[in-house]
Symmetry: C2
Subunit: 140 residues, 2 copies
């Protein structure tokens, strides 16, 4: 049901992240109501795309590092978004993310949005696997 990546959330962004080599990638087509102003994607939606996609990147990195058969439940600790150029509203966007470090329960992920071959926004986020008892533990 997650606003960013929940397949059952009909009003959400329904980000579908998939493995491609060393990266996690996703393709996203914005809707008109995701705009900041005419033709430009809202910066908060930019952040939502990068945050959710990076969280899955972190979960997958921990799954591989630990040799698990499913990803652990992870949550965002913090993320920094840099808006480098207007992200267009009217074309398909590519999300690309890769873990830069895995330390214990903590994964740092670098991610970007690419539109027509140009990086319009970047993100560095820190994500943490949660333990039983945390409100996020296997709630998604």
């Amino acid at each position: 049901m997650c606003f960013g990546c929940g397949p059952a959330n009909t009003k959400g962004l329904r980000i579908k992240s998939r493995v491609e080599g060393e990266d996690l990638v996703a393709d996203f087509r914005p809707e008109p109501h995701h705009q900041a102003f005419g033709g430009v994607l809202n910066g908060g939606i930019v952040g939502t795309l990068l945050d959710c996609h990076s969280n899955w990147t972190a979960a997958y990195a921990l799954m591989k590092a630990r040799g698990l058969d499913h990803p652990p439940a992870t949550v965002t600790a913090e993320f920094t978004v840099k808006l480098r150029a207007p992200t267009p509203l009217d074309e398909s966007l590519r999300l690309v993310a890769r873990p830069s470090s895995v330390e214990g329960d903590k994964v740092t992920v670098e991610a970007r949005i690419v539109a027509s071959g140009k990086t319009t926004a970047t993100c560095r986020g820190v994500f943490v696997a949660v333990k039983e008892g945390h409100p996020a533990f296997f709630r998604w």
Copy 2:
């Protein structure tokens, strides 16, 4: 029409920021589809609330600093969101923001979300007034 603060965007967050002393504040009631998982607000929506509200804080700070009768058009350069505790989905949230520096066209803003008296998320953002010719120039 902005997804975060546009009053005409019926599918947006419709953040209404107002001046209260030294701060800009806003009250926001999440909708069920804004969740991350049961009872908890999505981190991307947290970021969207803080980004848009901080952008208005920056525009208002420049309006005051320059003695203008309307806020200049500003855009987000970057923002960092720290999720300090789960932000609840089922209650009214208070957004609070204040500029920490104004240097030329650039304003740094510190913002937070408060739920039932507790700060659940903080944000530091940098916002820039744009000049004629920029795609954002008086487009909102």
